[in-house]
């Protein structure tokens, strides 16, 4: 607010200033604020058809507020809104240390996301590859352009849905509104140009392609991690109770030998429990990293 910016005289200039004023805020908050603002300005324009855009913008700065004022309101409000997961308190983190991960809801959200991402990843990948191939194939036909627009619209809706999943399971703030369509009175060519010059269209496509390898990796990590750690714990305890050896490791005779003694089995069970916590930590870390990826590629600004 140090430099009194020259007052915006078009809707897009106003939105650009608002975006600048919100720089550094969570991407989802910025997109919410821009959507609210765009909606209000559009209403203002359609309510006053006799006024020019410049005149309306001049009065909007008085009644709606300057971009800087609006940015401040959203920042203040965001700090009081409860997010899906309460922010972890650093003090707690230290008290429980390594095992604290078991009581963190984000861990289970991330674990669920890792298992789910195989299905969503395959679906997104198939959708995008099919859509892209058909779009290129249809490009020479008369239905090529409508099909391309339809495909891009579907990708935007999918990005929004993925955003909702990411926010619910990973706790990263994502847009809370469906993607806004540009105003309908624009010509077909403007729409196409807009869609193709929008970086987010391309980054969303890239995200959906990326989701196949990521989804497979997450799923394998999750399943192998859980199966191995829980299997070792369960197997060791079962062997301890029944007195029979169930775990066989053929290439390592000394390990095999350990598994026939009670202390060896107890060590194994403890190692399995430790491994389980390591898996939980890995899941939480994957969730955090993936949240960053989704925020970077999916949020339309």
């Amino acid at each position: 607010m140090a430099m009194p910016a020259h007052p915006p005289d078009t809707v897009s200039a106003y939105l650009a200033q608002l975006r600048r004023a919100l720089k550094g805020a969570p991407a989802g908050l910025i997109s919410d604020a821009l959507a609210d603002c765009e909606d209000h300005l559009n209403n203002e324009i359609s309510q006053n058809p006799e006024l020019s855009e410049t005149q309306i913008l001049a009065s909007v700065v008085e009644t709606y507020g300057t971009p800087e004022e609006i940015a401040e309101e959203y920042r203040d409000m965001e700090s009081t809104i409860s997010t899906p997961f309460p922010k972890a308190e650093p003090a707690d983190e230290r008290r429980f240390g390594f095992f604290n991960v078991v009581s963190d809801p984000r861990t289970y959200g991330a674990l669920l996301y890792m298992l789910l991402s195989l299905a969503t990843g395959i679906f997104y990948f198939t959708w995008v590859v099919t859509g892209l191939s058909l779009t290129i194939g249809f490009a020479v036909l008369i239905i090529g352009i409508p099909f391309a627009l339809l495909f891009i619209a579907s990708v935007r809706v999918l990005s929004y849905v993925e955003g909702r999943i990411v926010e619910a399971l990973l706790g990263v703030r994502m847009p809370r509104r469906p993607p806004a369509e540009p105003s309908t009175d624009q010509g077909l060519w403007t729409k196409i140009k807009e869609a193709f010059s929008d970086v987010r269209t391309w980054s969303s496509l890239f995200y959906m392609l990326l989701m196949l390898p990521l989804g497979v990796t997450y799923f394998v990590m999750g399943v192998v991690g859980l199966a191995l750690s829980l299997g070792v714990v369960g197997g060791s305890i079962y062997s301890l109770i029944t007195g029979e050896a169930h775990i066989q490791i053929q290439d390592a005779p000394y390990l095999e030998h350990m598994l026939h003694t009670a202390p060896g089995l107890i060590v194994f069970a403890l190692a399995g429990i430790l491994l389980f916590f390591v898996v939980l930590h890995v899941a939480r870390a994957v969730g955090w990293v993936h949240g960053k990826i989704a925020e970077g590629l999916l949020v339309r600004l």
């Binding site: 603002c37 765009e38 559009n42 709606y64 004022e69 609006i70 309101e73 409000m77 469906p178 369509e181």
Partner: protein
Amino acid sequence: MTEESQYTRKFRKELMAGLSSLVLLAVLARAGREMYGYEIAKAVKAEGEGGLIFKQGAIYPVLRSLNATGLLHSRVEASAFGPPRRYYDITDDGRKALSEWQYAWRDMREFVDDALKAGTVPAGVTPDGHAGAPA
């Protein structure tokens, strides 16, 4: 509001922080139907003596936070032109909060009025600006 000092603006802002929620709940309760953001912004008569008390842009984040705390319910509806509209409606929790907050506000207002009447008018100056009026 152009002549107001930085302190006064900060003071107004702090006053409005809680009251804007009360005002918005009252507007939606009185309307008795769902309304969208722009409609609510127009329904809030925010004209004060020195200009606008409350910027319309500040309504939207408050609506979002009331929605997040469950005092309002919202749904999104695609509109024929422009971006989809978010409609807000007051919930039962919101009505309960409104009736409680009304009492809190009345208590507060009386308390503040009393305090202002009792103490702060400096000796010899009435609100009309006449010097030396008899008490």
